[in-house]
Amino acid sequence: MKRTRVKNKRKGLISGGCLITVLVLTLFAPVFTSHDPYAQNLENILAPPMTASESDGGIALLGTDQLGRDVLSRLLYGGRTSLLVGVVSAILCGMIGSALGVVAGYYRRVAGVIIMRLADINLSVPTMLMAIMIVAVLGSTLFNTILVLTVTGWVSFARVVRSETLSLRERNFVEAARAMGVSNFRVITRHILPNLSHTVITLTTLQIARMILLSASLSFLGLGIDVSSPSWGGMINDGRNYIMTAPWLSAIPGAAIAFTLVGINIFSDWLHENLG
């Protein structure tokens, strides 16, 4: 891989900074909030942001929700779940999708046809519908959410990686390696995979954003992880009934999702410029 000067430093710094902020805030949530995100206080429900919380004399910075739980701590702890689901499922998608893509591109006759038709079938079912089906059958747990996202997300990797592999396969250095009798396995691992890495990395960052959004949509529909665990999508869903009277309940996690996604998208764009 060729090394050049880092382009567009400011873009990378700002978007990277945003993401690091989100990561630090959520990973070290206990440092930033002392409230238990599960603790209910039915006497102090739907308190607006910046009001004194009656029970402990502290201030509910972002208000309380419909069960009197502190919105700030739910936002931070909920971010953990949302990011965890996004990152893990994007990486799983990346691994499975890339592996299948390389195989499909390299052995394009039989394996390629089978894998790509599978991908077509997968694409022909709307993502949300498939997700709803799987969760309805298997139940809603963290593991199942990740499973759903992986099952629906590998195709985009497989298709991109396959087409890259198809062109790499015809390149001289690959042909030379094969002419010298290097085994197929070695050709793939030594000569093709390293040349795919920048594509896969860019795709993975984009996929993280997509997965966060998708898991939020699932939680919004009540199909995400179990209802009491905080998650950004679940918080938006909880707040939906109070949109007229307590708009911050949905607006705050909505803004958090938007902030994170824009950060990831700009960052992956910057990454693409510098890797590609």
């Binding site: 039915l42 069960l67 949300m128």
Partner: protein, 501 residues
Amino acid sequence: MIVVLAIASFGVRFGTAEAASGDAKGLKIVIARPFDIVGLDPGFLTESAQVVDNIFETLVRRNLDEKLEPGLALSWKQLDDTTWEFKLREGVTFTNGEPFNAEAVKYSIDRVLDPANNAPTRSYITTVKEVKAVDDTTVHVITNAPDPLIPIRFNRYPTEVVPPKYAGEVGQEKFAQNPVGTGPYKLKNWDKGSSVTLVINESYWGDKPEVEEVTFKAIPEAATRVSALINGEADIITAVPPEFRSQIEDSSTAKLSVVERGGNTVYVGFKTNVSPFDNVKVRQALNHAVDVDGIVKNILQGAAVATNSLIGPKDFGYAGEPEGYSYDPEKARKLLSDAGYPNGFEATLDTVNWYMKNTDVAQAIAEQLKQVGVKVKVNNVESGVYRTIVPTGEQSPMYTLGWSSTNTMDADAAIFAVLRSGEPYSTYGNPDVDALLDESRSSSDQERRRQIYAEIQKRVIADAPRIFLYQENTYYGVSKKLDWKGRTDGSLPLRTIKRAE
């Protein structure tokens, strides 16, 4: 994306026919409900009967106070244990000119009872063995066993009378699209999936209603339904969620109609044959651990009434508000350790969005149970899945369910299906209670039935097969131009809607 769309849809307006218009001639109104109708054949209905009730009539109907009064029958009496006689109204015709008579009643019941027709509502009248047309205006209903509920059964939509000749000629499917009845209204137009319009039946035998034409419009999103009411696009809306109450009350154009305890009695059921819920002390302990009043006041904001009664106050068999389990975590802990669970246990609580704020209520219950050491995981089950797992007994050992007398206004419908062992929705089995329930179904002595229900109530509270929670209120939004109130039986008789003074 979905989030954005859902929020955006709050702003969507349904711009169509101006509501509550009309001159001195007659009133035209719009009623907005969350769903459209599927079919209009009362014998084969799988939905609320609010629309068909206005096209068809039953032998017995309910007046403004929801007491039984003569409908298509002028009088009824019990001849012997298993025979009821109905005397029919004379000179009534269907809107296609066919005469209403004893044969029509027999035909209407026979087609629902015929197992070959597979009517979804057949179970409401399976106690009926046979209907005999004695003469043109006399009908004898023969039951399999003594059935004290016959007049109530002949108030419900499966017994609504259809014209035999027309229904027989067009067949069931076409009849459901082009219904013909004796009711005060007839079908004018049905725009499938969005609205159905009824217009007054000029040849109706009874008093002429004030409302000339009614459009039942489907508006699934509650916020949209409420704004349609407030800005005058709808005159009556059903299924108002409690958080929209103040918006309607504060508006200058509409008022809120509250039917206190008009909804389901919601409870957390236990599978009483599954450990640890097979231990009555555990079940009692969990009842002591839940602060029902706090939940009703803070989470439901008073949109329900905390109760230990199994039966609604307007239902036959209601015996006042029985004493139940006070909120007493200390006592709960003691009962749990007496039962052999000093450190509590873990359990899963299934819930479903059929009930108000179901996930909030379930989470509050879980939090309160945690205080006495019982760790509860809340599992919000998708509605379609829940509909299949509960009657087959595949739900978690703790599950949320609500039940009501669904328009019969009799204790039988409110409790039999959820307490009698062997019934699909029952996870309770007590031989004494079973015997009482069976007796209540066969005794014609109304006083005796009242005693039986009081006895059942007492035993069930002691046995605690559920966490007793509350009965939901129901809310309607009504334009200030109209004079109408929501009803406990959930029906919407258009003939009772009047102009406001």
